[in-house]
Amino acid sequence: MTAIFEMGIAGIRSGIADGDFTAKEVAETFIARVSAAKPLNAFLVETPEHALAAAEATDKAKAAGETLGKMAGVPIGMKDLFCTQGVETTAASGILKGFVPQYESTVSSNLFQAGAGMLGKLNLDQFAMGSSNETSAFGNVISPWRRNDGGNSDLTPGGSSGGSAAVVSGRIAPAATGTDTGGSIRQPAAFTGITGFKPTYGRCSRWGTIAFASSLDQAGPMAHDVRDCAIMLGSMAGFDAKDSTSLDLPVPDWEAALSSNLAGKKIGIPKEYRVENMPAEIDALWEKGIEMLKDAGATIVDVSLPHTKYALPAYYIIAPAEASSNLSRYDGVRYGLRDLPDGAGLQDMYAATREAGFGPEVKRRIMIGTYVLSAGYYDAYYTQAQKVRTLISQDFDKAWNSCDLLLTPTAPSAAFGLGEKMDDPLAMYLNDVFTVPSSLAGLPAMSVPAGIDGKGLPLGLQIIGKALDEQSVFNAGLAIEERAGFVAKPEQWW
């Protein structure tokens, strides 16, 4: 039998159902894994008691013959952007150090309702702003992966959901929550050889999730494979009256309808995603992906998304604009950090608190956002960016006339070394070049591991679908998963 720690959601679920092991054994296994993984700096808070309590509830329910929830007995990692009742929640920012919510986010609450337990709160880029996990106020996460060059240099797990990617790929948690604003689920999933899914905007409630950019933020699962993502998203999603942008639609049973037969499906290959200086290995992977989808019965068509090159600039106006306003509430008045110098007035307190509490990348985005919304600049930047956003959505709408899904690489490179890009924010922002357009359009998209580069690092392919058509995205992902035979795992060095 596979060791428990190697199992994902579906494996744990059937093992518990078949009586191979108890939920408590599962929880204890992963609690020990968490405990041993401190060198990765993936957890900001460990909550073994939460995982054990949920496991005991599952075992009790099973003994009583009750129907178990879809996540029953699965201990997960929780990105520290989700507010968790009674458990410190900081968004990896100094400004929220010590903040303990009195409420449970809708997504975490839905997962607990489905029987999941929580192993702890996962490190991330501060306020989810970053692509390498290096903007965390509590130190970066180190990827479980290493290059096969014997150099042992520390790599980024990607970001912002870097803690989530690290623990799932390191088999420290069977699954974890992520959030994706411009690629924060998909890029780290690609960097660590796991599967990450960003649903249609509005599928998962944003209530209780610390906001970065409200019109883009979406929660999603990060797990071993497509099936696990389908199970977990089914437990996270759902209408929530407390979020005005939540979709009032039933949640389909994605798991039940999984099928890798793509007969009749047309897959678009957007030519604008063939960017300059893309490593040949990624190009080759993309070609491999095309062949896999053909093999699954799909037809391949070339499509054009002409405004793609404007997506990144538009994103880096809209997201910071919303962030600059969303982060105004961290002012030292009601919770979190307060820096009150001697004899300081209110304005001094704001300045000192925000100076001390926010990291450099967060400050940079607040300043960009403040600038683009300022009188005299608003039309040139914000209004223009919104127009671009509309054009990008229209690009996708037009593409759907000739195809059902799009296949692209997830990121323009494999995981890079920690510290390699921190001095160059623009190079860092380029990580999102393939993931941002679908975020701007609110479309479902996922990253599936599809290959290994020459240095032994995982590479991912991205599938983008029509709004609300998560099923087709899952199905195409499954077709790649079945054909890619991706079995690489990081060697345990920690």
Binding site: G208, S244, Y350
Partner: protein, 498 residues
């Protein structure tokens, strides 16, 4: 120097006359049990920070959800002033760091307000509103959140903040610059308040801050180009609004005539010194960085919803006043006074409804309400909603006058007892023997006694000193303790004295 003529208000400056141009932005608290975007209570006067939800306190991850009742009230208000209802509106964030604004932004509607242009009819003469009316344009009404309240007197070096008001729904009703005198501005606010109270969308309570105005004032030579305006914030009484206009107009005229220039700025009114002071100029005006709130979807209204809002409106003051005048036959003055406040009109109508013949009694009832009842309430310092005498009790009293059971004079006495004891008029009249004497025999007997006791005056009267007639009426009434029917006394005296 201020010169008032009947219709124009002018500032007399060294260079001639100046005209004042006034626009008002009235902030009216929407009547609703919970706040605009949260479920917290809006009740006035609670202990600080006891009516604060997670959303109001801007806890991390909290999201606003729109209170439909506030939307309904804003639409009803718009319909009541015949305004354009915008089926598409949107909420914007107005960003500003302030301790009483936990989110760091106020959710408002800058670009797409829920209500567009409308009109409010004001009257400058209560006695005859139709003859002295003026239409004041309303530019727009939008919905927004109120802020919290800072408390500076709780700690020697710190300020405290009370978030109870934070997030309470306001309507901002923006007038066009159509007013030209303090009196017009006051009449506008009075009329707006009346409409809001009829509609039930705001209680209009200025003392509790439910209604306050930003007063925009500029001056110009009559008919000339508009001058630069100043905006005096948060003026919270009718009297202060007028004081602000008078002060600002005079200040601006003096400034210009001394060679200066009016600066576009925000000012504050100091009621103790009766003057306005500069708060911040245009240069250091906040850049609010307005942008559409991404947490809220655009607000789209269905025709059915607007129709239902319209159907739910009560008869409004102008319609009611016309009906009182034309159908009930009341004087223009009574019709205006009785309809100014919704409570008064409702009280009056309830009185009429408890009688069999409302049309017949309407005029006398109107006179009685505007003189006797208002006088008593004024003396007691009570509003009509707290009147110690109910409309039914008043109807009973008026019935006794109408059927001749008591005289108008005795009625005043009975009313006083009603106010004190709460007893019904009929009961008082019976218990205290105040029933009017209409029996001619009894009255004739007393008249004979009065004439016998005043033979000299009888002679003088008969010699042509007509004025003495009143003396005989008085003596007769006095002898009968005021209970004689005055009409019968008059008739019999005329007959007997010849």
């Amino acid at each position: 120097m201020v010169k008032m003529t009947e219709s124009t208000y002018r500032i007399q400056g060294g260079t001639g006359e100046w005209e004042v141009v006034i626009g008002l932005e009235v902030h009216a608290q929407i009547t609703s049990k919970s706040k605009l975007f949260s479920g917290a209570s809006t009740e006035f006067g609670a202990e600080p920070n006891t009516q604060v939800s997670l959303v109001d306190a801007a806890m991390p991850g909290m999201l606003p959800t729109l209170n439909g009742e506030c939307v309904r009230q804003a639409v009803r208000t718009g319909l009541a002033i015949n305004a354009q209802i915008n089926k598409y509106s949107r909420f914007d964030r107005k960003n500003c760091f302030y301790a009483d604004l936990p989110q760091g932004y106020q959710i408002s509607q800058l670009y797409h307000p829920i209500v567009g242009e409308g009109v409010i009819q004001i009257s400058l003469d209560e006695k005859d509103p139709d003859a002295h009316g003026k239409a004041i344009g309303v530019e727009r009404i939008h919905i927004e959140q109120d802020a919290g309240k800072l408390m500076h007197d709780q700690h020697p070096t710190m300020s405290y903040v009370d978030l109870n008001r934070c997030g309470v729904a306001l309507m901002e009703i923006v007038s066009k610059p159509d007013m030209t005198s303090p009196k017009e501005a006051a009449a506008y606010v009075r009329k707006l308040r009346s409409i809001l109270r009829y509609v039930g969308s705001c209680d209009g309570n200025m003392e509790q801050g439910s209604m306050r105005a930003d007063v925009n004032v500029s001056v110009r030579k009559p008919g000339g180009e508009l001058g630069t305006r100043t905006e005096t914030k948060n003026v919270n009484s009718m009297r202060f609004i007028q004081a602000v206009i008078e002060y600002e107009a005079q200040r601006q005229v003096d400034l210009i005539e001394d060679g200066g220039e009016v600066v576009q700025e925000t000012r504050l009114f100091d009621p103790d010194r009766n003057e306005t002071r500069s708060m911040r100029s245009k240069e250091d005006a906040h850049d609010y960085r307005y942008f559409p709130d991404p947490d809220l979807l655009p607000l789209e209204l269905e025709d059915d919803f607007i129709f239902d809002c319209k159907a739910s409106l009560p008869e409004l003051p102008d319609e009611k006043r016309a009906r009182y005048k034309n159908v009930l036959g009341l004087s223009a003055y009574n019709a205006a006074v009785l309809t100014a406040e919704h409570e008064t009109a409702l009280w009056f109508e309830e009185l009429l409804e408890t009688t069999d013949k409302p049309e017949e009694i309407a005029s006398s009832a109107a006179n009685w309400v505007t003189s006797e009842l208002f006088g008593a309430l004024n003396r007691l310092g009570l509003g009509i909603e707290n009147s110690p005498v109910s409309p039914a009790q008043a109807a009973e009293l008026l019935g006794l006058i109408a059927d001749g059971t008591i005289s108008g004079k005795i009625a005043k006495q009975v009313f006083e007892i009603m106010l004190e004891t709460g007893d019904g008029a009929r009961k008082i009249v019976e218990e205290q023997g105040l029933k009017q004497e209409s029996d001619t025999g009894a009255i004739e007997k007393v008249i004979a006694e009065v004439m016998a006791a005043n033979e000299d005056k009888v002679a003088q009267y008969r010699d042509g000193k007509d004025k003495l007639f009143g003396f005989f009426v008085g003596q007769t009434m006095k002898a009968m303790q005021g209970k004689a029917n005055p009409q019968v006394v008059n008739e019999l005296l005329k007959k007997t004295l010849g």
